[in-house]
Symmetry: C2
Subunit: 154 residues, 2 copies
Amino acid sequence: MLIRTSCRQESFADSIFSVRSPEVLTSEFRARSLKVTPQRQLLFRLLHGHTGHPTAEALYAEASAQMPGISLRTVYQTLNDLVSMGELSSLQFAGSSTRFDPNVDDHHHARCDECGELRDVYVDHFDSLLVSGFAGFTPERASIVFGGVCADCG
Amino acid sequence: MLIRTSCRQESFADSIFSVRSPEVLTSEFRARSLKVTPQRQLLFRLLHGHTGHPTAEALYAEASAQMPGISLRTVYQTLNDLVSMGELSSLQFAGSSTRFDPNVDDHHHARCDECGELRDVYVDHFDSLLVSGFAGFTPERASIVFGGVCADCG
DNA sequence: ACTGGTGATCGCATTCGATGCTAATTCGCA
DNA sequence: TGCGAATTAGCATCGAATGCGATCACCAGT
Ligand SMILES: [Mn+2]
Ligand SMILES: [Mn+2]
Ligand SMILES: [Zn+2]
Ligand SMILES: [Zn+2]
């Protein structure tokens, strides 16, 4: 496998992509007659600025620290709402639970075979790919997952 | 999203990729001191020539038709063995159970959003992709999944 | 062919992530 | 402030997959 690494690597590292602000999410929820509860507000805050790919359990742990008694069920509920609103995306890999991605930008992922760490990667010249085998299939989206070894595990 | 469709589309459709022959798999199992039982032989046969992406349950159904009493546990066992031997690969998507892929050729997939149908696609010029964000990560593999609508659901 | 030993089979229990259900609560609008 | 509708939280349930272990059977060596 040959992969060309862009020289613009650094410029991307500077950018931080996350879920939209708690204020925006609040309006979005209200606009859909969804109530803005303290539990949801807390999750809005936790997700905003989050650059990783947390699981529901991880967010539940973070949330519990600030709001003891919040239920895992509610965390799932809210994350699912955000996903169906397109404010969050979800990723699934073999042998681990669903990861939620606060970065809804058009991007792809690199996943470490050892530790499962997931990082965002950006791909240029996607349209120079030549794909055969669609035969009637209408592609609308594409997602690339690179498998390999991360810096820590290497 | 812009995707270039290869004019060689048809030539690929002619090729049939599958798991290796029951005879080869038999030798492979013996070489590893794994016994070649009737249950395994049946699965070898079912997988050979299989061009789809069946679930363990689906293969269990097929197997049960020819060998009533075979257990789902044994089907999983054998499929997992084949995967760890590299004779079969496994794929996982959100909201559905693991799909086993008898095609271990280097290829990618297109998945219908409606019905979940999965088809093989082949990608050329992969090395013209420009990837940024690796930063220490050593990529070894890549897998592309196209999302969209299949001919039946369109 | 027989046999011993190691690996396989199969059914049942168990795990784990995720969702269904619902009484009690709370949000948000009037 | 009060009402109706949405939410919460806890527990039950689900589905896919694996752990376990008594019994079975492949197969190498005789
Ligand atoms: Mn991401
Ligand atoms: Mn395939
Ligand atoms: Zn790692
Ligand atoms: Zn379809």
